[in-house]
Symmetry: D5
Subunit: 154 residues, 10 copies
Amino acid sequence: MSGKSDNAPRQLGQQTPLPGSPAEAELDYVPNPRPGTQYLIRFAAPEFTSLCPVTSQPDFAHIVIDYVPGETIVESKSLKLFLGSFRNHNGFHEDVTVGIGQRLFTEMQPEWLRIGGYWYPRGGIPIDIFWQSAAPPEGLWLPDQGVASYRGRG
Amino acid sequence: MSGKSDNAPRQLGQQTPLPGSPAEAELDYVPNPRPGTQYLIRFAAPEFTSLCPVTSQPDFAHIVIDYVPGETIVESKSLKLFLGSFRNHNGFHEDVTVGIGQRLFTEMQPEWLRIGGYWYPRGGIPIDIFWQSAAPPEGLWLPDQGVASYRGRG
Amino acid sequence: MSGKSDNAPRQLGQQTPLPGSPAEAELDYVPNPRPGTQYLIRFAAPEFTSLCPVTSQPDFAHIVIDYVPGETIVESKSLKLFLGSFRNHNGFHEDVTVGIGQRLFTEMQPEWLRIGGYWYPRGGIPIDIFWQSAAPPEGLWLPDQGVASYRGRG
Amino acid sequence: MSGKSDNAPRQLGQQTPLPGSPAEAELDYVPNPRPGTQYLIRFAAPEFTSLCPVTSQPDFAHIVIDYVPGETIVESKSLKLFLGSFRNHNGFHEDVTVGIGQRLFTEMQPEWLRIGGYWYPRGGIPIDIFWQSAAPPEGLWLPDQGVASYRGRG
Amino acid sequence: MSGKSDNAPRQLGQQTPLPGSPAEAELDYVPNPRPGTQYLIRFAAPEFTSLCPVTSQPDFAHIVIDYVPGETIVESKSLKLFLGSFRNHNGFHEDVTVGIGQRLFTEMQPEWLRIGGYWYPRGGIPIDIFWQSAAPPEGLWLPDQGVASYRGRG
Amino acid sequence: MSGKSDNAPRQLGQQTPLPGSPAEAELDYVPNPRPGTQYLIRFAAPEFTSLCPVTSQPDFAHIVIDYVPGETIVESKSLKLFLGSFRNHNGFHEDVTVGIGQRLFTEMQPEWLRIGGYWYPRGGIPIDIFWQSAAPPEGLWLPDQGVASYRGRG
Amino acid sequence: MSGKSDNAPRQLGQQTPLPGSPAEAELDYVPNPRPGTQYLIRFAAPEFTSLCPVTSQPDFAHIVIDYVPGETIVESKSLKLFLGSFRNHNGFHEDVTVGIGQRLFTEMQPEWLRIGGYWYPRGGIPIDIFWQSAAPPEGLWLPDQGVASYRGRG
Amino acid sequence: MSGKSDNAPRQLGQQTPLPGSPAEAELDYVPNPRPGTQYLIRFAAPEFTSLCPVTSQPDFAHIVIDYVPGETIVESKSLKLFLGSFRNHNGFHEDVTVGIGQRLFTEMQPEWLRIGGYWYPRGGIPIDIFWQSAAPPEGLWLPDQGVASYRGRG
Amino acid sequence: MSGKSDNAPRQLGQQTPLPGSPAEAELDYVPNPRPGTQYLIRFAAPEFTSLCPVTSQPDFAHIVIDYVPGETIVESKSLKLFLGSFRNHNGFHEDVTVGIGQRLFTEMQPEWLRIGGYWYPRGGIPIDIFWQSAAPPEGLWLPDQGVASYRGRG
Amino acid sequence: MSGKSDNAPRQLGQQTPLPGSPAEAELDYVPNPRPGTQYLIRFAAPEFTSLCPVTSQPDFAHIVIDYVPGETIVESKSLKLFLGSFRNHNGFHEDVTVGIGQRLFTEMQPEWLRIGGYWYPRGGIPIDIFWQSAAPPEGLWLPDQGVASYRGRG
Ligand SMILES: [Ca+2]
Ligand SMILES: [Ca+2]
Ligand SMILES: [Ca+2]
Ligand SMILES: [Ca+2]
Ligand SMILES: [Ca+2]
Ligand SMILES: [Ca+2]
Ligand SMILES: [Ca+2]
Ligand SMILES: [Ca+2]
Ligand SMILES: [Ca+2]
Ligand SMILES: [Ca+2]
Ligand SMILES: [Ca+2]
Ligand SMILES: [Ca+2]
Ligand SMILES: [Ca+2]
Ligand SMILES: [Ca+2]
Ligand SMILES: [Ca+2]
Ligand SMILES: [Ca+2]
């Protein structure tokens, strides 16, 4: 489960099976094409799904990740496969959301990272989880993630 | 539980306790102020709540009622109390929604009536119920109820 | 309270006091600039207000009027003053809405007319009223009024 | 894989594991609480997921089902489990969407049914699939499903 | 009415009757799965209802709760039952909203908590209530709750 | 025109005529149910109307009031009647908006108060007025009022 | 002021001064690139402006034109200049809107044409004008123009 | 440039270069997985671009295609490459939009097809093009494409 | 072109011709009705138009002006006429927008002023211009202007 | 590839071919018409397209650029041609977005500049890139770019 930092993405443009679990998923890290520049990268993943550890029923979330790269950036296809590897993983909303953020932060060593997990409602009450590695760096441009509060019907 | 048709609303401008059940709720019907004219009356009730007959948990719905009055119209405060009387009533979505429409139709004897019940999701899947007493009358202007399909998060 | 049909609008570009009641309001009708052509005129009046006949509290509505002119069209400033004349008028939603439509229809003698009254909620339940003079004429282009169903909060 | 029509839902209020495949999923049908009445039931399932038969990558869809019940209605928790059973199923968008509609139609024998599958984009181009069992019955009130066309960014 | 902090949620996946009052409702607190990490948890509860202490009529609200967990987090099903226990409780908007926030704050002892109560209009004027336990902690990522101001009709 | 602070609202649940002018309107102040707690109360009044002092034509506004209560809060029905009392009052937008805010501030003596008046366009140009009694208190949670800028047609 | 039908647009890609009046504006018509095919062309012109014939103040409109071409289509730059030529033209809303539609219809001789003029409000009441040359042809696909009803503020 | 109908898509899951022109692009057609069933397939392509034949400047469009399949369906990756092949192609909006629809119709021989091309504005005036092969088949469920009319700014 | 500060607006309620140029337009300034109070006045002008100095084609903008009044406020009808006077004025977007703001600032001498000019796209790229006279005053409540970024089609 | 700063735009109002690559594109800089004034210029370019360096497939983005001019401003037609020159350029999202911002910053030498690149999704996950040359200058009015987070379907 260690991060790689070599020059070419290994999964982009290839047929790659979905990893069986987050532990099996390998994230690829490629050199930051704009090293030494403070900028923000945002991924939106509206298709996240995992399993509830109590009921084993599927859970769904819209996830948004923001980070300021250091020496490497995460290759987006490997990120997609990593997120897809939660498909048969049991985990609480809090654990899954913060865990994704912390794994990326530990492996990629960006300057800064945050993750928002906007979970679909169960029993009428949706849960949103917001974590960041630290207060945002000085001088960073950091737009709101802009995912609306859940509003039921009508 | 019979409908009344006298000249003055009895509940408008009064303090009236919430009826204990739909069966106890009395709907007031007042003379149609524009008899002989084909027009449509629409109520939106975004605050409907009843109880699930299997789990006894609260259910919530946004309800919209459209009708073409005959000799009487339903007085809106009595309608509000009637809808409020479902607060401790156990009923399936289909039964409650169609039942409200059919009670109004039977008691008020409008030219035509329809009801849409847009229920909040349970287990990720919301249910909408649509009933009308017949195909709409010829020449009626009948706008869409315009309540959006549920869309989850994101 | 009879309609006039002379060539010049009398109120446009003048300071005119608000009529004291709908009965006192005079509507001006000017020659249709495109006589013999079937077309639709739509007014939106988001600022309508009258008084509740039971409680004397103010009522508010967003009103939309559609019509196909015959020999005359209603001059818009006189229409505005007519709508403003309901400010101290007591009337039920149904009566006021349909009444405005019927007065315009009777005086102006358009080919066809409809009115939608979208009333602000009282006690949580708003009422919408829809009336038209007949089924729309063949071949008329008649867009939806597109006023959304009330949806409460959230 | 045959439909059941007994009086009580067997899965509502129970812990039930997700079926391993659509073929293993059993749908429960309960008596229509308003038999002999023409009305529409709508389910929205914004959390559908299956696998691409060519790449084995996950696919996602927002699904909306409308039907007019006959003697039975589908119990919503069993429907949810049935939809969840596609989680590890490989299928083309067209096949999965129409197939869900046709299985429900065959087992439940409603008066009429339609299904809309609004799939998330792959390669920039999303696909929507719309199927109905026949032209809608006369006199049915059938609102638009109102799921917006995909619009990319900006 | 004291909070519990043991390892397993007692109500998730069980049939649990709605508590008769807030005082009877027990909130369950389970260990924070990410202790020592500053992150935010948001609940949206679009289905809140209580009773007006003056008129006994039902009141409705959309409620959003944000908190930064300490050693425990509130189990979401017990939170749902707690919120549901206000169904037959009489209380002013201000009292109910701030009271929910303060009970959670006192029992759970989070690092920080806020609650927004967005109440449905009565008499044309809705009330929103906003309370937080203190100024937000340094370095916390705290998105706007994004519930729109009420706008009436049109 | 002095404020009252006794224990019971005098107007809630009663039939009360609309005051003839703002000077005649009495605002009721009741004890703050959560004294010593810093929280925000927001009222939205989408139905405000007064008269133009130059032309005597009706003006309309959507008004939003935010305040942090001190020892009392304003009772909402008396607030509604006070706002309704501007119905036949002549005043400039600036004067009316700031005046409402300042009267409430002076009588109620809240910790802090602000008012936004969003006026309907006249001559194509709407005016918005924003006033607050001081910079917001430290540590207050103060969401945006979120009323959109006017945008004309299309 | 006669229409031309030659093979090349004369104004596209050229600097062309704005015509001084609609009468001076020349519309260019080029051969329909898909003759014999029934299809619809829609122009949206959100920047239309003319002058009020009573007050000489500027009026503004969002205009949408739909037509089914015959042998020619109107070249879009000449259409833009024609619409721009109303900049100093005095005309009533009805006259201007229907007049634009009728001039295009007469000169271009399309199979069918309609025009919607959505005028900015004056005195609080906007006017929309809808004209079509006839009922739409059989088999034509004719989407709604989808311009929302004016809604004031809030 | 003839259509192919064999059993496997040749381009899905492969790296395929963008064809140099529409004429060079090959569309793949695969057997309809639900032959004999009347259903609708919709593609949205928000990323279409071609070149203006007069100025050689890039044009952009949001394109939506609806069709009822016959014996084959178009494979979506080959459709994407076909649409991408217009990148360096010069063509008028009308010609390009109707041409795409007609090529698909001719090669695929669906029961019915329509295409909507929603072009980005040039000179302030956007053009939309709508073509269908015939009036829609009886009994087809055909939702609106729901692409909003252009509205400029504000 | 000097500003006036006398007690009565000279243009409100009068018929006034549009000034021939910005230089000819006279702005009226009337005494601030709430002198000594820090508050914000916002105008939205969705109907602005001027001419491009290079091509002489019309340009359009949605303009929003915010200011904190000093001893005078600008009378809104004279502001409307001033903005209307740009109708035949040639100017670059940057020059026109900042110029309007600076003229108002110089003549009216408000405490603070800002102007946002949101121009309609030309060649696919709209330009927005934002200018303020200084950083906003301490303690001012200054809502976002909330005009959306341009988004093209779809 | 050096920037020019002379007095007249060379490309505005001319027919100019699209440059073959970003390196060939020349940006024109003209004198700032409001030198010495701190103001912000925003461009929105919803039509950006380049090629993926790994797959050569087209990529699309909505790009927004904000800057505070120094002695020159970029002429908008040359900016459009520069952005259009990426049509056949291969580049990663991060590289292209930050590169456009840095080239403009280097050549134009504005006081400050930022660029947001909102890329269309590939594989279900869109990427947004945000770069600014430094923390924004003191006293600058800098509205949010307001481009929504991607949300998939439903
Ligand atoms: Ca790698
Ligand atoms: Ca609702
Ligand atoms: Ca009665
Ligand atoms: Ca007259
Ligand atoms: Ca709600
Ligand atoms: Ca876009
Ligand atoms: Ca517990
Ligand atoms: Ca309104
Ligand atoms: Ca009192
Ligand atoms: Ca517009
Ligand atoms: Ca309003
Ligand atoms: Ca093939
Ligand atoms: Ca506008
Ligand atoms: Ca688009
Ligand atoms: Ca130059
Ligand atoms: Ca979704």
